[in-house]
Symmetry: C2
């Protein structure tokens, strides 16, 4: 199975766990045997479980690449959109990536679906079936149609011609009001969840019809010049041969704290003590305890970015308040590990850097800040202005503004460093990257 997971933008609705660079699909709140996993990890793991040969490609923006590598490893393909150009260019780019980079054949089926819904095992069976239907070629496009559980105003509706498990599509309806939604449902309508499959050739040919490009690299290079256009508008609305497959299993959009917590297997994550609460969920990613007593219908979430205490109903109105918060991101997962801001003063910032085994940060310099590293655990190698040295816990390295530096973890355990940044205008953008030659 070839599958393109659409990994959407940053979100503030799940602040303080999601932020400008950290989307909800990367929050680790689902319990597994070894700890917790994110929606993205859960989705990826389930796909590989049902098809260990699945070729999974994540279509996403530049800002998520580090996080995806950190959470999903190097086995996953990533089709990076150089900038935002709506869903048709994004899917065209990903399909082109599958063909030209991953070597997927023109006749092979490709499934496209979002990376972040909450689903169960039957969903993955359905994805496989969707691919099979696309492969048999009777329709150019096969959609998954969700059996509605209420007259939602949030989804577009698919009107099938029959009530069969797989049917031809008669028409599509825009997001309706509640009354209209009830009528649609009475007529057998299904939710359009943006999950569909096709033969690779079908979308690649449509792409060549609409965009002048030779191959993946060419499309990538001219991506910025492409017009914004949705897949629905460019492809779906113009295609007469579309089938829909009904799906009645669990499928939830976990876009607000209220819906997200419904999907949590435990009511608490992290260092949490609770007493006499009712319908309360607590997620604590800090290393200090959270004590919650006598609360009802509430969500409490604490991270290095901030602390949220909200009534569950009220949680859907969080966005304007989070927009009021202006502060740099204080925790981020990168391809090489993670960093946590532990202290901020007027002219200094202290961060903890964790470099995963075998990883290294970019060779880089800063114009306007000095830095001091104190290694607190592990071993590795530091390179400062092309001079390399072995480092271990207790070693201190000072770097003045302008000097090039990097840290390499050539061991098989974590390398941790406390980095003190010193300067008047400390800014993540103050960074030059260099090639490391050695």
């Amino acid at each position: 199975m070839n599958i393109i997971l659409l990994s959407g933008g940053s979100g503030k609705r799940l602040w303080p766990l999601s932020n400008d660079i950290r989307s909800k699909q990367f929050i680790k709140i689902f319990k597994t045997a070894d700890g917790y996993e994110s929606m993205a990890q859960s989705m990826y793991r389930h796909i590989l479980k049902i098809d260990s040969d699945a070729k999974v490609t994540v279509a996403t923006g530049r800002s998520q690449v580090s996080e995806i590598h950190n959470q999903l490893g190097d086995g996953v393909g990533i089709s990076v959109e150089p900038c935002r150009r709506d869903t048709f260019p994004a899917i065209a780019l990903a399909v082109s990536y599958l063909h030209d980079v991953q070597g997927v054949g023109m006749d092979e089926p490709v499934v496209v679906c979002p990376v972040d819904p909450y689903v169960e095992d039957d969903y993955f069976e359905a994805l496989k079936k969707l691919a099979d239907i696309a492969a048999d070629g009777r329709s150019n496009l096969v959609l998954m149609g969700m059996e509605p559980t209420y007259p939602s105003e949030k989804y577009g509706y698919i009107m099938p011609k029959t009530k069969d498990k797989v049917a031809e599509v008669s028409s599509f309806k825009e997001k309706p009001d509640e009354e209209t939604a009830k009528h649609y449902i009475a007529e057998g309508a299904l939710w359009n969840a943006g999950i569909f499959a096709f033969k690779l050739s079908y979308v690649l040919n449509r792409a060549h019809e609409l965009i002048d490009f030779t191959d993946y690299k060419d499309l990538y290079d001219k991506y910025e010049t492409l017009q914004k256009i949705s897949f629905d508008y460019a492809v779906v609305e113009k295609e007469p041969s579309i089938a829909v497959m009904r799906f009645s299993g669990v499928w939830k959009d976990l876009g607000t704290w209220n819906t997200l917590t419904e999907a949590m297997s435990d009511s608490t994550v992290g260092d949490v003590i609770t007493d006499k609460n009712e319908n309360v969920h607590v997620i604590n990613t800090l290393d200090i305890p959270v004590l919650v007593m006598g609360m009802k219908d509430a969500v409490i979430a604490a991270s290095h970015d901030g602390i949220l205490v909200t009534d569950k109903e009220q949680s859907s109105h969080i966005k304007p308040f989070v927009d009021m918060i202006e502060q740099p991101v204080r925790y981020a997962e990168k391809s090489w590990g993670s960093f946590t801001v532990v202290d901020v003063e007027d002219e200094s910032m202290t961060i903890k850097i964790t470099l995963n085994p075998g990883q290294q940060m970019n060779y880089h310099s800063h114009d306007r800040r000095d830095e001091v590293w104190t290694v607190v655990s592990g071993t590795g190698r530091a390179v400062v202005d092309d001079v390399s040295q072995e480092v271990k816990a207790g070693d201190v390295i000072t770097m003045h503004a302008g000097c090039r530096h990097t840290l390499i973890n050539n061991s098989d355990s974590e390398l941790q460093v406390i980095e003190v940044q010193l300067g008047k205008d400390i800014d993540v953008k103050d960074k030059h990257k260099f090639e490391l030659t050695d």
Copy 2:
């Protein structure tokens, strides 16, 4: 006016703002023109406002000395109890300190009261009056009797002979049950709040009768050998000549979050955003924002030690849960400034040290940890193994286990340092102090 403020022990009922070394009287939650002050600061400021010549002595244990100097400055006297020996030895020691160290005359009145009730201006007028009554010498002891506002089971009761503003005491009653309290109140009883005045000679003479000592220093040295005995038992119950002065102003014990928040002038302290809450108080001493939405009758408190979210009623049951929390104190005010733990790993701990202008830490060493200082703001002097050097922001000093070190802020602004501690068993007790000779 000579006044002894009894500053009691640590408390967990106001966790996470109070902890093993930080008592509730030092939590800064009362708004002033310049910021926030603590109960101790408010009490001290009001006493000096009503009597700028007042000699104020805080009677307390060793663990609070740094905090008291930090918050009240050097003008306040401190009578340090070498160990806990109940109220009679504590008051005897403080009175002896007043006489022998502060030079207070035998005929001068002394007022004793707790440092931590919530009161208004009329309370301080009453304290002064209490001193005046003690000075006139008609009674050996003058108590302040609080007009009861409800039949409390929490207080002992004073039965006055008449309903006059100042009356002789007829008898004392132990803490009653509610029914009995109602009867007492019907008979004109008053709450015994542990506030009283006397001529210095009176208590000093009683002390010499009951304890064999020469002067303050002698009493201090043999303090550990003294029997535990309460002031009530040793003095009050045996004294026939006691007066009581009625007080009907505001006087509250702020011992739980529920009562403490009633006394807050603002419903939030610190970086807090709120929306659609009702009867909610939020105190945030962290440098990340707290967002609270749609909550009711709740207290939210966040500090470096932890985060509390509780229903107000439920907040009085906090203690057993806080007892479950085992972690080192993460923020403390010291006589020289403050420290904050910003990161803890298995074999390292990172703290931020703020050294106030003109202050210095002890000259000390550790057996089992190395340390690295990175100066992040200010200037000063570091001494390492008797070698002194000027330091400024960006300077790095490394100290191996066993080496003696101190930091001196000889400037008139703050000196801030990030200290990385490295070792297997990092413990505050791993410390040797030395005399600094230079």
